[in-house]
């Protein structure tokens, strides 16, 4: 078994799913056996805290710290109290350019479920949900089968492996909308409401689903758990090339020779991902810039290619590692059109709760459409800059959606300003003929 690529060790070349028998034959559920009855929840928590695992959904918040906020000593939470604590897996992968969780869900559903059982055990949750986007039809069926197989084995249900720990797990397909991936909006959706995000505090760890302590973690985050419990925090830290720990699912899409998704040590240099794994640019295309981790991250450019792909390094360069799946802007694609596509997407997906997002994003999208279609005016550049300042500032909006939308716009204005201005002075898009060829 491959210890240096733990997340994808069961991923086959043809992407066929790993079933219970194959999963266990390759050492699966050993983490569960190792923990149940032998490690206290506090031991598991310390292991995850010591591992320095950070959330793989995009924000990079330390997972152990997040879990540590769940109250553990409330007598009302004792088994049999009828008061639930919840673990939710966020499998609502909808960030533009992101296609990593699909791979983990479709190829190795048991890895996620084993991680979820251990996570639920650690925080004392007795109910778990996998909130999955409805379009992931294949993954939904595989997860339901895997959960049924776990019940048959005694890995789910009451008194798991003879302990007093019990867990019910449900797959909950979404009804659509990108905002459901925001953890408090996801909780609203699970409660049957419009998926408006909620103000924090209270944080979900204390008051989440139905007002009860709730942890929401991304698929990739949870897939790491059983490996860390089994092999220890030092093993996990040693996987990373920089100060960050573990591996990361990296992806590249756009005009590269070999678009795809690979598990690599966290901190792998961007150039290595682009050239050695994605095969470099397609013939006839040059790279102008890239979004390092999905549609809501700032552009980086050529000068950043030798940076390590980890949370802190990409943060210092003025962007975010986000989901770790890069989108490449090539020299035959219009940067204005590229940013317009993203801002229109975020505008469409606004939940409508707060004004800067509901009214500001359509305004940005309109200005970008004007510029792209040759109706732009010189003062539009100032308008866009003001929108970036106003909408992009955290604290002006109810959640991170609108500030996220401003990241590619702000950095697009910085790195591709000449293209924006040329659209305005020429009254047309100088890429127009190439864009759809």
């Amino acid at each position: 078994m491959s210890l240096d690529r733990p997340l994808t060790r069961n991923v086959r070349a043809d992407r066929s799913p790993t079933d219970m028998a194959a999963y266990e034959a390759n050492g699966g559920y050993q983490g569960l056996h190792a923990a149940m009855g032998k490690m206290a929840p506090a031991d598991c928590l310390k292991t995850i805290q010591d591992s320095n695992l950070r959330g793989r959904g995009g924000a990079g918040f330390p997972t152990g710290m997040k879990w540590s906020f769940v109250p553990m000593d409330d007598p009302a939470d004792a088994p049999g109290s009828n008061k639930h604590k919840y673990l939710i897996c966020n499998a609502d992968e909808m960030e533009p350019g992101t296609f990593k969780d699909r791979l983990l869900l479709e190829c190795d559903p048991h890895q996620l479920i084993e991680g979820m059982i251990l996570a639920a055990y650690t925080i004392g949750a007795d109910v778990a949900y996998i909130f999955i986007r409805a379009e992931y039809v294949v993954a939904t069926a595989l997860l339901r089968k895997a959960i049924a197989d776990c019940h048959a084995k005694g890995y789910l249900g009451t008194n798991i492996l003879g302990t007093d720990f019990s867990l019910e797990m449900h797959v909950h397909p979404s009804a659509g909308r990108y905002i459901c991936g925001e953890e408090t909006a996801l909780i609203s959706a699970l409660e049957g409401k419009r998926a408006n995000p909620r103000a924090k505090p209270p944080f979900p760890q204390v008051s989440g689903l139905w007002g009860r302590p709730t942890i929401v973690n991304n698929v990739e985050t949870l897939c790491n758990i059983h490996h860390i419990i089994e092999r220890g925090p030092q093993w996990f830290q040693d996987l990373g090339l920089t100060s960050d720990a573990g591996t990361k699912m990296y992806g590249v899409s756009g005009r590269v020779k070999n678009p795809g998704c690979w598990e690599l040590p966290i901190g792998t240099p961007i150039r290595e991902i682009l050239e050695d794994y994605a095969g470099g640019m397609e013939d006839g295309y040059k790279m102008r810039g890239f979004l390092p981790g999905g549609g809501s991250t700032d552009f980086l450019v050529e000068e950043h290619l030798d940076l390590a792909m980890d949370y802190d390094t990409i943060g210092k360069a003025g962007s975010r590692m986000g989901t770790g799946t890069m989108i490449i802007l090539d020299d035959r694609t219009c940067p204005v059109g590229f940013v317009k596509n993203l801002v229109e997407f975020f505008s469409r997906e606004s939940c409508g709760f707060c004004t800067p997002c509901r009214d500001g994003l359509p305004w940005s999208a309109q200005v970008l459409d004007d510029i792209e279609c040759g109706r732009g005016l010189p003062e539009d550049m100032d308008t866009l800059a003001r929108q970036v300042t106003f909408i992009g500032a955290m604290g002006n909006t109810h959640c991170a959606l609108a500030p996220g939308a401003m990241e590619p716009l702000a950095s697009g204005l910085k790195y591709f300003r000449d293209d924006f201005e040329r659209h305005i002075t020429e009254g047309s898009c100088h890429f127009h003929k190439e864009v759809h060829s």
Binding site: G97, T98, A175, R177, R255, C261
Partner: protein, 166 residues
């Protein structure tokens, strides 16, 4: 008629049984609002005004509140849709790889624009957020099936009778 008979006049016994099973998992009936909408839509293809009112009555909430929820979610349909819904990804990677030409060619082939349904009720065409298969862009879904690396020139073949069995 009693309230329940009224309800059964609109929703089937089977639909009501499925909704009631969901009610067991939530502390208040309105908590099952999205599940109930999805159940009825699975049976009928969409949520009519009559269905909406009946579901709202069953969950003890106003029809307006339930409609606020129904219209929030892109995959709850408040208008009839075709037998298969085409979800065309138009997020940024698929846009770079030609989803606009893809849309044009589908529209030419089927004679429908975005949000429209073919005259034979076979297909409804809708835009969709990133489908999470960007390494195989451009992509679309027809019903439950994902189609990857779709060629804008040959996309029409996906809609020939029997195409999906091939």
């Amino acid at each position: 008629m009693t309230m329940r008979q009224n309800l059964i006049a609109v929703l089937s016994e089977g639909e009501i049984a499925e909704i009631d099973a969901e009610l067991a998992h939530v502390p208040i009936p309105a908590g099952a609002a999205i599940d109930a909408l999805k159940i009825v839509q699975a049976h009928r293809g969409w949520i009519s005004d009559e269905s909406l009112k009946a579901i709202a009555q069953h969950l003890g909430m106003s029809a307006a509140e339930l409609d606020g929820i129904a219209t929030f979610y892109t995959l709850i349909f408040r208008r009839p849709v075709g037998e298969k819904v085409i979800l065309l990804c138009n997020s940024v990677t698929c846009w770079m790889k030609g989803c606009d030409s893809l849309q044009q060619n589908i529209s030419d082939q089927l004679g429908i624009g975005m949000g429209e349904t073919t005259a034979d009720n076979a297909y409804t065409l809708l835009p969709m957020t990133c489908l999470g298969a960007c390494d195989k862009a451009p992509v679309l879904m027809i019903g439950d099936d994902l189609h990857e690396d779709v060629d804008p020139q040959s996309v029409a073949q996906l809609f020939q009778p029997g195409a999906e069995e091939q």
